[in-house]
Subunit: 356 residues, 2 copies
Amino acid sequence: MSNPLPQGARIGILGGGQLGRMLSVAASRLGFLTHIYEPGANPPAAQVADQCTTASYEDTEALRTFAESVDVITYEFENIPTDALDVLEAIKPIYPNREALRVSQDRITEKDYLNDLGLTTAPYAQVDKLADLQAAAEKIGLPAILKTRRFGYDGKGQSRLKSTDDIETAHSDMAGAPSVLEGFVNFSREISVIAARGINGEIACYDPGENVHRDGILHTTTIPAEIPAMMAMDAALMAGKILNALDYVGVMGVEMFVTPQGLIVNEIAPRVHNSGHWTQNGCAVDQFEQHIRAVAGWPLGDGSRYLDVIMENLIGGDMDRVPDLSKDPKVSLHLYGKADVKKGRKMGHFNRVTSN
Amino acid sequence: MSNPLPQGARIGILGGGQLGRMLSVAASRLGFLTHIYEPGANPPAAQVADQCTTASYEDTEALRTFAESVDVITYEFENIPTDALDVLEAIKPIYPNREALRVSQDRITEKDYLNDLGLTTAPYAQVDKLADLQAAAEKIGLPAILKTRRFGYDGKGQSRLKSTDDIETAHSDMAGAPSVLEGFVNFSREISVIAARGINGEIACYDPGENVHRDGILHTTTIPAEIPAMMAMDAALMAGKILNALDYVGVMGVEMFVTPQGLIVNEIAPRVHNSGHWTQNGCAVDQFEQHIRAVAGWPLGDGSRYLDVIMENLIGGDMDRVPDLSKDPKVSLHLYGKADVKKGRKMGHFNRVTSN
């Protein structure tokens, strides 16, 4: 791979959803062409990509052809099958690296990793069978939340336990999947740090945003978060520690809880992140371009923020609000081109500038 | 045509250059798919479009198939052959309308039209043969500039006359093309108004920018232009007058000269305009989205500007500056994905935020 990638180079993106779509647009701004790999038909990202391969992650031949057609490979989601990664990595570099995927694909591996770095997480315990859950509930205390170790997102694969009465239901909710019980954290706010690390080890962070969830899905991110400057600095240093430890290349989303005892890491996502969409309005370089810059071996943007922004997701029927939102002078719409409106489906988002 | 166009609607764009490319990206933000029609192979716009037809403007069958595949048609350049427009318009609406194209395709028609509206232009005279040029030079005075009536852009098809000695050379430079002699205007600045008109007649203008040219090609646009607020208002009212007279739908670029006698209209372009690229950084809705909103029957964005910006074009070998520019924290790059660097070719631009 030539470093930095020259004009006209091709970037392969695993996953054709809205993140792949916005990565593709950002890549075009830097003069790159993109090739999307996605098992589902007519993915949103293909509408703004140069090429799209529709094939499963088991299709070794399609994976090889894809890898050979591009200069570097990145991804929009962390749950890529290991076998597919083996095929791809033999042909072209993958950024962020395998270690970042290994750590973030499993909630227990991730929490072990973060604690080994000296960072704090919620208390947690491995749960493989009912007896484990009973022991974990006793050790951690209730209320707590049971989550599958792998493949969870947007509140899927989670079950809340208020009291010991909920233990059996929660266990059966997991349908035998290896799980983790996480203790509830007494937090005042959830914040996100969108951090990036370049191929040469430079690190850039955007200002932390404050997240509000609804029904387990991110609802709004407000920038700036109402936290002291020293805590914002702490958050950036913590994110930097994780990126350096992983020898990470690309953008990472790091969710943290603000607690009376300081910042606790909730989870990391080795990719661009919904809570970083505000960077599209109010920064010289947004998180999507920042990620492309990193994986292309370009210098990072410095993450300067010019404006205060509230990002709000449009989920399912929220699309009915688009006609009104399109009249609002402070609103920038970002719709995902998804054909069918479904309950709980992320259809778009908007950024509202609140001051400058 | 359904009005406003719904999610997933298809917008046809005639022309696959950088303007078509940035229109395509803006259309995607609003959930639309684009189909590019372009005679040249591998156009920059196709890299971020859902579909691309490579065919000439004489290929009636390709034009028909294209028109039938989309919901509405727009364009990135004004010199579309009339016969092609006839074929397309019989099948789908074209915005901006034919009248805007008719007026702006010919410098004399355009100047007649503007003067009929009560606006001021440079003095001008029609030149078909050498005797016309001699008479025109006498009437208008020298220095002056001889331009082809049609198909000129970026200083092409132009010849300067300093004295009567230049008359014969200038005439032969035109190679027999119908031409217009334009008197030099004693101006202190050139400004651009990027104005938009919606399907329901609403009008929105961005703040005027100040243009500096080099070798006949736009070099920089600086926002805001250093003109009194009353003159900025005048410029917007003049642009609005043109848009209303044409029953225009879409974005128009209106270049004006600031003179001791007030504002003089230099030329109009019935499309998004190079001097409006600054809107990509510093506005909630940029000129590309504004144009798509208009042709899709959506409400216009209000054109609010949050930041001061200098836009600078990257022409030909200016691409050597990209490595340095990519390190500048205030710079947003917009590169066009053109394979070959050529002298005088627009390869990209950047916006530098100068204050907020």
